[in-house]
């Protein structure tokens, strides 16, 4: 087949661009998170004092933090799915750092030093370390499948970004169950819980996202 003949077939293939990359990544996260939400509703459920928690600055900052992380990870994931590496997504990390710094600064200012360790260790760190990766499984799987349509400059990095995004989505769900609202706890254990998800995304992405 001559190249010109192949071009005829490519032109005839009017499979319309299904969706811009950003939208397919977005819908993949939502679809995966819905599965996790069902698991959450059946197995965990929201904390009993949820309404009261909304009135505390610690809980609100925790939510702000996971949402900022979700936005940042979405931007990184879309950027990593393209063949040309861009750096615009890095701006999305800035809000995360700002909220983290503000939360940590406030906590250290208002909390007596002898309380720091207790708040850092929290009440269920191990549970957090296992539940966030479990809740991230479905979003990670859907994301990686969606990214097969993409053309990442580095399949491993795209997988890592997908892992980060899946972990952020899982953290956003888990935050409604977790009683530990101290920024000391959140900034320690949530990122630690994301590590296995990012590693899994990297390993699977390296193989699955080649093109």
């Amino acid at each position: 087949m001559k190249t010109e003949q192949l071009v005829t077939s490519l032109v005839a293939d009017r499979a319309r661009a299904t969706a811009p990359l950003g939208r397919s990544v977005g819908s993949a996260v939502v679809a995966g998170a819905l599965v996790s939400l069902v698991i959450f509703a059946i197995e965990l459920g929201p904390r009993v004092d949820l309404a009261a928690a909304f009135a505390t600055w610690r809980f609100d900052l925790k939510l702000a933090l996971v949402l900022a992380a979700l936005m940042a990870a979405s931007g990184a994931c879309v950027a990593m799915a393209r063949p040309v590496a861009t750096v615009r997504w890095r701006w999305g990390v800035l809000p995360v750092l700002l909220v983290a710094a503000a939360a940590l600064g406030t906590e250290l200012a208002v909390l007596p030093a002898r309380e720091w360790e207790k708040n850092l260790v929290g009440s269920n760190a191990l549970f957090c370390l296992t539940t966030i990766p479990l809740l991230a499984l479905a979003p990670l799987a859907v994301l990686l499948l969606a990214l097969r349509r993409a053309a990442p400059a580095s399949p491993a990095l795209a997988g890592a970004a997908a892992g980060g995004l899946a972990a952020a989505a899982a953290a956003a769900i888990y935050a409604f169950h977790c009683f530990d609202d101290s920024p000391l706890f959140v900034l320690t254990w949530y990122p630690l819980a994301a590590i296995p998800v990012i590693v899994a995304g990297t390993v699977v992405g390296h193989r699955l996202l080649r093109w």
């Binding site: 001559k2 490519l10 063949p83």
Partner: protein, 183 residues
């Protein structure tokens, strides 16, 4: 060639809106550029030029199937170069060539018009042969016999929509075959 940033990006934008003629012009223009890039890449790697048209076709397929990953806010050329580099490196790596390949060394030195396509690539014909019967007949009907999707549908007793769906599958299968199928 590949020198006017407005032009190619505009062609792709028009193609996205359904302008087939713009898409054809873009693909032919890119194919000519790819031919020069692949040819120089093969020379630099000490490989025979016989593979050239295969690389061109594999890269065109990738560009077509992955066109959603182009960000309209960015110029098209860097995106094209990235895909071309990826496919050239991949092609050479499959043949055991692991040195650094930088197509940017070659892209701006295209003074002479690119060499014309040298016959039909043998492997490309084998690739077509590897497709399932129905997919192969549709690609042959459209590509080689130059029929419209509708005509192919009438001949094969399929709706035009079904022809297009099968054509899309065939192109994906061709792309996969290029990527995995060979030593």
């Amino acid at each position: 060639m590949l020198s006017d940033p407005e032009d190619l990006s505009a062609l792709m934008r028009a193609a996205r809106k359904g302008d087939d003629e713009a898409y054809r012009r873009l693909l032919l223009c890119v194919a000519a550029w790819l031919r020069a890039v692949a040819s120089r890449g093969l020379v630099a790697a000490g490989r025979p030029n016989a593979d050239c048209e295969d690389i061109v076709q594999e890269t065109l397929l990738a560009m077509h199937l992955k066109r959603d990953t182009w960000d309209e806010m960015q110029p098209l050329q860097p995106w094209l170069r990235a895909i071309a580099r990826h496919k050239l490196v991949d092609h050479l790596r499959r043949r055991g060539f692991t040195d650094h390949v930088d197509i940017d060394d070659h892209t701006d030195t295209l003074a002479a018009p690119a060499a014309a396509e040298e016959g039909s690539a043998l492997d490309a014909r084998q690739m077509l042969g590897s497709l399932p019967e129905r997919q192969r007949r549709i690609v042959e009907g459209i590509s080689i016999e130059g029929q419209s999707a509708r005509d192919v549908g009438v001949r094969m007793g399929m709706s035009e929509g079904a022809v297009r769906v099968t054509l899309h599958r065939a192109l994906r299968a061709l792309s996969d075959a290029y990527r995995k199928g060979r030593t």
